[in-house]
Assembly symmetry: C2
Homo-oligomer: 100 residues x 2
DNA sequence: CGGCTATATATCTCGATAGATATATAACCG
DNA sequence: CGGTTATATATCTATCGAGATATATAGCCG
């Protein structure tokens, strides 16, 4: 599963949002989400395989953290579109200023 | 279907990429992609419903163009993550410069 | 009108995904 | 060791998404 599919799922985006605050044990995600522990574990596995998070063991806990490399790939696709959009907005503004 | 799910599909990303070049008839997308005409039509419908493209009729053709409003929602989610990433890269660079 | 072109919709099938419950693994603690 | 906690895996089910083929709609042209 690629990064685009990975971030298409709301629970997974929420996990990534939590990890913006720094490294966190899997249990934190289970608490924060409204789905079962195994479901969270499965999402974490997908995020790992998509290269969006890293894990390290800490006793019986697993500490997850962001691995932003693959998110950058999303941005690489998205950026030209945002630029296209900004260009159109700029053109619109210029037009409006022409006839105020 | 929201914008995140919409851009998760490669054929749909390719359609959006084509439309960066400006308004285009549905037939152009059918030519460019390797899937059937009805499959393309279905993707176009999804993109319309997701608010990512607009259509207008031109005789028997339908002209599609980008509607970037919803893509901005993706950026809104993505941007803080990219900033998190940049902060870490900057920290790494600073560290490397410390010991050259 | 009749045929042709462009596009959309209907229907079906297959594979993938998300979830749940049950169970396994494995580290810690007494 | 035995129990407890934290997390992962197995299995099953229901739903969904993407594709194909077949068909409908609708505008154009002679």
């Amino acid at each position: 599963m690629d990064a685009f599919e990975a971030i298409a799922e709301p629970n997974r985006r929420q996990i990534l949002d939590l990890l913006k605050g720094g490294e966190r044990p899997a249990g934190d995600m289970v608490e924060a989400l409204t789905i079962s522990q195994p479901a969270v574990s499965k999402h974490l596995k997908l995020l790992r395989e998509a290269g969006l998070v890293r894990v390290r063991a800490d006793g019986q806990r697993r500490l997850y953290s962001l691995e932003p490399r693959e998110l950058a790939a999303v941005e690489t696709w998205l950026r030209p579109h945002l630029e296209f959009w900004r260009a159109r907005l700029d053109a619109l503004e210029a037009h409006l200023e022409q006839e105020p």
